[in-house]
Symmetry: D2
Subunit: 203 residues, 4 copies
């Protein structure tokens, strides 16, 4: 990873056009340092997981999503909480991406940052816990902090467009992305410990 080129893949868990979670992904691209980028992928194109379908080969949008997860340096998942968990569309995308019957999951050891916003005070606290539980499966390397739980979202986003307009929250998102870059950097190279082990095994 060249730090002039830290590529984040941004996935929004909500499908409506004016979603504040789409807004978070857009804002991530805007506030990130110049050596970072945040590309979004629209999950609407992903069908439900169905093993019969998988047996015929992954559908094109699934192939594309898996490829993009594999190619990026880190994934940003911005998701609402629905009913103490996460939306079906995000769950379905993960259902496909976390499969490793024919091909290892691209989420294995992939650095991931999670962000969410809610109109009330809890800021998607329970939903993010469920998402962390899911991402333990591959496992992904989900960044533990700083956490981004944006409460009282109506005061921080433009509700017509979903744009993140609150300056303090934009600054918080910028620091979150810097931390994600650093978190990712930790998983880049084989560590010295790894080298020691390798020597031990070959001895």
């Amino acid at each position: 990873m060249d730090h002039r080129d830290f590529r984040i893949l941004g996935l929004a868990g909500s499908l409506r056009q004016a979603s504040v979670h789409r807004g978070i992904v857009r804002a991530a691209h805007e506030v990130a340092s110049e050596w970072m980028s945040c590309e979004s992928f629209d999950l609407a194109r992903i069908p439900y997981f169905n093993q019969d379908l998988e047996d015929e080969g992954n559908p094109e949008p699934v192939k594309e999503l898996r490829e993009k997860v594999r190619a990026c340096d880190a994934v940003l998942i911005a998701t609402p909480e629905y009913d103490y968990a996460i939306p079906g569309v995000l769950t379905a995308a993960l259902d496909w991406c976390l499969r490793s019957r024919y091909d290892p999951t691209p989420f294995r050891h992939k650095p991931v940052g999670i962000a969410g916003a809610s109109p009330g005070g809890a800021g998607t606290a329970r939903g993010q816990m469920v998402l962390r539980q899911i991402l333990l499966h591959p496992p992904a390397y989900v960044m533990p902090d700083p956490q981004v739980l944006i409460s009282f979202s109506r005061q921080k986003f433009d509700l017509e467009t979903g744009d993140l307009v609150d300056k303090e929250t934009r600054d918080r998102l910028r620091r979150f992305l810097s931390a994600l870059a650093e978190w990712t950097r930790r998983f880049e190279e084989p560590t010295k410990a790894h080298q020691v082990q390798t020597r031990e095994r070959s001895a």
Copy 2:
């Protein structure tokens, strides 16, 4: 509720044809007492939840599902565990059914039984926890026991068809359905406590 007519709505969380969870729903219909029935609804027809779509009115399959949940006496959810949680298709169906912006959710105070099967030893333990968390939201009245976590499913189902063939597990499912009928019965009538309260309030 006339006990000659205890109608269960069966939802399978897996879409493949030979799914063992479809098999559980079929077996529920077969093993139930003669005064019970278990009708299934195929979740494949439900789209992802999208608020823009909802604003135009619920799609037909969503209307139908909500109506069936409302009309039944209890819901049986038979679901696999995907990645320590539940599949996107089931999550999406719940996303729609648990909405109450325009219309109260039909899952509010609806008796629900949960069953799951896994090839390994854990029997969907973590997935069922996530489903219980989601169903606390309306809240539904999710039956706490007996729990049906079917481990080592390959020894209990016909893998060609998904049929539940293990006699002991079929007996267990029968007892589970009897318990679900009794659990449902507890929520049928206003209790005397309710009547006392009503008198107190009107006093």
Copy 3:
């Protein structure tokens, strides 16, 4: 259960004297209808669970607590959230009470209501989820709603004493206790469904 005598056992998850959770238990006794009472039991007397200790017979405070849980009509657990879960003292009390090696757990099918307060906006949301997961084990019949998550507790309690002083929250607690009485009532008598089943089995 005579409704002039609905006996709640109140357990506070915090040990400090001015705990707002002790305050919730006291307030429960004050605001309840005249046919209800809420007795508290101080968990400080319960040791950590240790199977070696159990093999010599339950310690006196454990025996007493188990007896009180068994004798009451319902349990009210008022607990803070510590680190996204519940405190060790409450966990330890449950460790002892949920054992059933020598004696069935008194929490089996016992109606339980949960309440919690936090200084911030989340109101013990994550902690209550963990407590519900634990209480699924016996299982207890944990009331699903109304939920009592009291946010911004500093504005609602007297911090010198822990007393619940906010009128609106006291009213909310009163409605919660009425609901708990009704919830309990539902589990009091064998249902007609049970009677039908019994006839079927003996036929």
Copy 4:
């Protein structure tokens, strides 16, 4: 960290003498590479958390435990699952260690490995999820894989002593500890990303 000196602090969540979780901590010391050590700390000495007590200063055993967590390179927590969660004694130890009112928690950014064993097939799956949720709070850097969920423990431990006798499981534990050393190594040094950020901030 000199790799001739990777010091693990081992905490067992069970208090009985012949606990298999004490056995896991002992086995960790035995199977580890010669440049590793695993010292255990007996949690029985830790009182319940009580803020009144904390206000007078941390009790001696708490001070000692916090010091040991701070001084070690990584923490190994070997814990049973009690009632879908973790025992009160471990919870209480974490209650104290995760406090940061007067002093930052020594678990902040501390590498942690989790292991557990159960007599049945689930291998503490639900309990480990709760522990991961708790350790997200500081946050600690909990190793996501390999996971050590030891099922059917009666076949793998000497039940008289708690000793881990199964060779395959001992090998698995050895690999787990090597992975923990490598995981820890990743968090040792400021990354280049960090250095880049530092330059940016001072520019």
